[in-house]
């Protein structure tokens, strides 16, 4: 059975990041190249909404926008 990859992989900025660093590859293994319908980014898109760049597949945001190192 061939693995299906999320159809947005070419445009998703996080997919690109996951691709580059081995440490992050686990996201692809759990979402992008597995059950991508669980990915919060994919779900938002299916609802016709825009996706903030820092939204992770698990629904959390990469470091709160007001956290340290963010301004």
């Amino acid at each position: 059975m061939t693995a299906k990859t999320c159809p947005h992989n070419k445009a998703c900025p996080l997919f690109a990041k996951f691709q580059v660093q081995s440490f992050l590859r686990i996201w692809q293994m759990n979402y992008c190249q597995a059950d991508y319908s669980r990915c919060a980014r994919f779900v938002l898109r299916s609802q016709g909404k825009q996706v903030p760049v820092n939204l992770l597949p698990n629904g959390r945001e990469v470091a709160g926008l007001d956290g340290p190192g963010w301004d």
């Binding site: 070419k10 445009a11 900025p13 997919f15 690109a16 990041k17 691709q19 580059v20 660093q21 081995s22 440490f23 992050l24 590859r25 686990i26 996201w27 293994m29 759990n30 909404k49 825009q50 903030p52 760049v53 820092n54 939204l55 992770l56 698990n58 959390r60 945001e61 990469v62 470091a63 926008l65 956290g67 190192g69 963010w70 301004d71």
Partner: protein, 206 residues
């Protein structure tokens, strides 16, 4: 031939619209499309959130990457470290791109009205009127039905354009000229339907 004051011959219209379509893409690095610009203007809350996230990620990419690694550890624990052994080659993939600011989208929308005014003023066609011309009254609606009909028709246009993902500028000009499948089909649908309905209107009015 009077460029500023008269109605343009077809080739001039084609030349100007195509220059606009291609020129905008080159300068703004995104396709020209009114309905998406309008949607973004109306969705200012989301736009603000998106712009903040984008700006933060672009301002300090190293911090973003660090936070990403922390989030990965938090989610998967040590399992992440046993992922793959080697870093992959950097893909020819989109880096995080800057977004057009909301105010630029608003400027675009407002300037269309200004451009229209200029066109009308220079050709002597400007006149404050409470109708849309004799043909409209004959074919579609007149009198008390005018405003409700326009509201309804506008609603169909706004809704349909969002549903199809674009309008005559986004799909028609930008999409078709780049042979995008979604745009070609959408454009065929809207032209086809408009032609059909127009013939029907003409037949009913006769």
């Amino acid at each position: 031939m009077d460029l500023l004051h008269g109605t343009w011959p077809w080739w001039l219209g084609a030349l100007v619209l195509s220059t606009l379509t291609v020129g905008f893409y080159i300068l703004a690095r995104r396709p020209l499309g009114f309905s998406s610009s309008l949607a973004r203007v109306l969705d200012f809350k989301t736009e603000r959130r998106m712009a903040k996230a984008q700006a933060a990620a672009l301002r300090d990419p190293a911090a973003f990457d660090r936070a990403l690694r922390e989030a990965t550890l938090a989610e998967f624990g040590q399992a992440a470290a046993t992922g793959c052994d080697q870093d992959g080659a950097p893909p020819a993939a989109p880096a995080i791109a800057p977004r057009p600011p909301w105010s630029a989208q608003l400027t675009f929308v407002v300037m269309i009205a200004v451009g229209g005014f200029l066109g009308a003023a220079l050709s002597g066609d400007f006149a404050l009127r409470l109708d849309l011309g004799a043909e409209f009254a004959r074919l579609v609606a007149g009198g008390g039905w005018l405003w409700p009909m326009l509201l309804l028709a506008g609603l169909l246009v706004g809704f349909g354009a969002q549903m199809a993902g674009g309008c005559t500028s986004g799909h028609g000009l930008s999409g078709c000229s780049r042979l995008q499948p979604g745009s070609l089909l959408a454009t065929a649908c809207f032209f086809g339907t408009a032609v059909g309905v127009s013939f029907l209107l003409a037949w009913v009015a006769s």
